[in-house]
Structures are given as C-alpha cells and as structure tokens.
C-alpha cells in the first residue's frame, strides 16, 4: 500500500512538473544576462561602467580572478566561505567524538599490486590536488575539491598499508591554516578597513599572481580541508586517537 501511494504521488508530481512548470522555464543558455544580478559579478565591474574583460589583457579590475565562481566565493562572499570552513570543522569534531566509542581498528588485507601502485600514484594525486587549489582562480576548482583530492590520496595510502597512520601534524596543519584565514581577514581589516577585504594589487587577468588575496586564501583552505578530511577518515578507521 505504501508503495502504491508513493508511485501515485510521484506520478502526479511528474505530471505537473512536465505539463505546467517546465514550459515556463527559459531554454538552457538563452537567459538574458543583462537583466541578472550575476552579470555585474561576471563583468567584475560593480562600481564602474561595463567593460568587456579580455583574457591576459585587462588590468586593475575589481577582482582579478579569471574563474567567476572563485571570485564570487572568495572575493565577494568570503565571510560565507569562512562559515563553511567552520561548519566542516564542526563536522570533523563530531566524527572525532562519536568514533571514539569503540577502540577496534579496521584492518584491510594487504595487496601487493595495490601497495606498489600507490607508491607511483600517490605523488601524482598530491600534485594534482595542489594544482587544483593553487590554480583555483584560473581554472575550475578551488580549495575544497583540492583538499578533498589530497584526502583521497591519504585514503589510498590507508587502504594499501595497514600500519599507516595520520599523525598529529595533520591537526596542527589544520589549526595553522584555519587561523591563517582569519589572519588574512584581519590584515585586510587593518589595511582596507573591511574584514576579509582584498589588500593586494590585482594584476592582469589570467596570470598566476593576479587575483590579489584569492590564491593565498584558497591555498590555506586547501591545506585546511585536506588535513581535516584525512584526519576525519583516519578517526573513522582508528576509533581511538588518530
């Protein structure tokens, strides 16, 4: 009976979605951008008049990052990102408390092929994670995915070697990176007058050192997320102190 009700309700929902709601949506890619708020963010000109942004040519924009998502996440809404990092810290704290109940460690069978392959692949994973968060303002990516990729590399090490442990250094890295983010915000407050404001010059769009404070913040977030998630997975495995 429960399933019949579920099927009926989803059929009615689908009918209204296809018949009445879907035709009112604009087609994908055909939205008039000039009438949206995001247009100002994309053209990076909320203060001046609109000028087209040219790659490797435009100088002294309001925000120098070529990736629009990064400029919104780290430059326009950086306080929001600080809150997200704090939420992630709270989640890792909760796992650390809850996983402490039983002290039995999860053991895996060691596999020789996996152990050998990990030795080759792990540095590449680290390199790719670092690339994702250092180039977060130029190419798709950023601190969160880069840190998660590094944590996945640590997970691979954990699967291949039984005696591998994440030490206390991960927690110290996380603390230093987290307070570094707040420190960058406080420096912005001291120089410009607004918390987490950009206080470095924004260069030419597309260069590595172009987005002012964004690469610094994303590198810090990458270290913090990577250390935090690796210690989270490690706590999940160890049960006791990681």
């Amino acid at each position: 009976m429960r399933r019949i009700w579920a099927v009926l309700i989803s059929a009615v929902f689908l009918y209204f979605l296809i018949a009445s709601y879907y035709p009112t949506l604009p087609m994908f890619g055909n939205i008039d951008m000039y009438r949206r708020v995001s247009f100002d963010y994309i053209s990076k000109s909320t203060t001046k008049e609109y000028q087209p942004v040219e790659f490797k040519k435009s100088k002294d924009l309001e925000d120098g990052s070529a990736n629009v998502v990064t400029s919104i996440v780290v430059n326009y809404r950086s306080f929001d990102t600080l809150g997200e990092v704090t939420v992630l810290f709270a989640a890792a704290l909760g796992v650390g408390i809850l996983a402490n109940i039983r002290k039995r460690r999860i053991e895996f069978e060691e596999h020789k092929v996996l152990a050998t392959a990990t030795g080759i692949v792990f540095p590449l994973i680290l390199l790719f994670g670092a690339y994702v968060f250092i180039h977060g303002h130029l190419t798709p990516g950023g601190g969160f995915p880069g840190g998660t990729i590094i944590a996945l590399g640590v997970l691979l090490l954990m699967l291949s070697k039984n005696e591998f442990k994440v030490t206390e250094i991960a927690k110290h890295t996380e603390q230093i990176a987290g307070s570094g983010y707040v420190l960058v915000g406080l420096i912005g407050m001291a120089i410009v007058g607004v918390f987490l404001a950009n206080f470095l010059p924004t260069g030419v769009v597309g260069n590595l050192f172009s987005a002012g404070v964004v690469p610094i913040v994303y590198t810090l977030i990458g270290f913090k997320v990577g250390a935090e998630l690796s210690s989270l997975v490690s706590e999940m495995r160890e049960g006791d102190k990681a």
């Binding site: 018949a19 990064t70 796992v95 039983r102 798709p140 990516g141 995915p145 998660t148 989270l232």
Partner: protein, 93 residues
C-alpha cells in the same frame, strides 16, 4: 495530455542524454532505498553521485563537477563504508 506528447516530440539529442542520465539516477536511487544490504545501498548512492557529475559537466559547471566527484562519490562513500564496518564490528561482539 497533448502537452506531454509535444514535450517528447521537441526533444533533441542533448535532452535525450539528460533524460537517460536522469532516469538512471532515479533507478539507482530506488535501488538504494529498496536494497536488502546496506553495502549495496552505499554503492548505489556512489553511482548516483557519479552520474550527477556527468549532468554537471553537460550543464557547464565544472567546479561543482570536480567537487561532486571528489566528495560525493569518493570520500562520502569511503566514510560511510568505514562506518558500516565499524557497526558490524560492534554487532559481532
């Protein structure tokens, strides 16, 4: 009813890819709900996030796609499988 027939007549190739991936996602989520073993549910959830990565790439959101691939189908599944092992270790005692 004529609305629905028109809707299916106006579909293009990209739309077909959309609805194929979306239908597969629905099937995997139903499997995740109905599966007898919890392990199978976790694998099906991982498959759902892997398919949504494809959707994000088609919708031109590579940032979200990278994050979803790393968090949704990689780390979240690993954490859930570790939690499952831990629960089983508790039950045996």
């Amino acid at each position: 009813m004529s609305n629905i027939i028109e809707f299916f007549q106006n579909l293009e190739l990209l739309d077909w890819i959309f609805y194929l991936i979306g239908g597969l996602m629905i099937i995997y989520s139903l499997f995740a709900v109905e599966a007898k073993k919890v392990f199978d549910s976790i694998l099906a959830l991982s498959a759902v996030s892997l398919l949504s990565v494809l959707l994000f790439i088609v919708l031109k959101a590579p940032d979200v796609a990278i994050t979803e691939a790393a968090v949704g189908s990689g780390l979240a599944s690993a954490v859930m499988i570790f939690a499952l092992f831990r629960m089983k270790a508790g039950e045996k005692k």
